[in-house]
Symmetry: C2
Subunit: 191 residues, 2 copies
């Protein structure tokens, strides 16, 4: 007897990302997805109960992958500023190299498919970064009178815009610009 080829699932996810980043979540059809990923429409229903389940599992898959990348290489032994910069650059790089992933996660977030619990799960993505901010305060390096959330939003919002501009416009993030961007962010939050 023949066994399922679970590698197909990832092929489907990747095709989904491509289509969604081009046309938005509204533009994804099962037929289009099948064509793009090189399987028959019927095959999609062997691996996924429905379009809804497909989106649901795709969301979990990419959310976890994103999460893993943010803190990559962060080492609490290194000086705070070095560590913060690593997280800053990680997030920027992530959003540039996996832009369609970010687009999908954000579109899904405001789609008819999102559920309550997934909403809560998304919050978990922030925790590790919050820990870094708390450390900066403990070491008296960043502003103590501003709450963690606001510091977080200031950094994240900036990086988000930079990455989106890099991918969709002519504004490109060279190493020099990354350096300057982090310097700006640092000037903002430092004591």
């Amino acid at each position: 007897m023949r066994s399922k080829d679970y590698g197909k699932v990832e092929l489907v996810y990747e095709a989904g990302l491509e289509l969604i980043s081009r046309e938005g979540i509204a533009g994804l059809t099962m037929k289009g997805l099948a064509a793009r990923s090189g399987v028959a429409t019927g095959t999609l229903y062997i691996y996924f109960r429905s379009k809804e389940e497909l989106f649901h599992r795709m969301y979990l898959y990419y959310r976890n992958r994103s999460l893993d990348r943010f803190m990559q290489g962060y080492d609490p032994v290194e000086p705070f500023r070095i560590g913060l910069k690593k997280v800053f650059v990680n997030y920027l790089t992530h959003r540039i190299e996996h832009h369609s992933e970010s687009i999908f996660l954000e579109q899904y977030y405001r789609s008819p498919y999102i559920t309550e619990e997934q909403n809560a799960l998304a919050e978990a993505m922030k925790h590790p970064v919050y820990e870094v901010i708390k450390r900066g305060k403990r070491e008296m390096l960043i502003k103590n009178d501003i709450d963690d959330e606001m510091l977080f939003l200031a950094m994240i919002g900036f990086v988000r815009e930079l990455a989106d501009e890099h991918v969709t416009k002519q504004y490109k993030m060279t190493p020099e610009r990354i350096e300057k961007a982090f310097q700006l962010a640092w000037d903002m939050i430092k004591m």
Copy 2:
């Protein structure tokens, strides 16, 4: 003979915003839109040639409204910092009070409906703010070695996150927080 009731068009737009902010652009159907705005489906086709034209005109309508609000009350006679703060607060207030408008514009931007020229038009929204930034540089008040675009993205990204957090989460923008947020932004860009 009976005349068209153009007030209906705005009712339809508003119903559209509501549905889109709840379910995303993917979730908007002509039937649902008709029900929500209190007209018959057929009536929609008296005012709009098609769903595509509806989205198209709705986009132009809200883009212009947004545009008008950003520079409201800005007076080049006042000191630079005062003017910048006004723009900062305008954008924050706009995104909070007209959140579903912002959601729509961003979702439309990445939907199958967007056209090339609309893409270009969206860029125009930035120009007045760029002028403010240039003025700050001329007056030697903000960093001269950072390009206008980066300064713009840093401010806009921050405000965007604050507003979204205010609307969708428990984090609320009180007057004190607005004050602190602008101080953060100012520390970032000042000479």
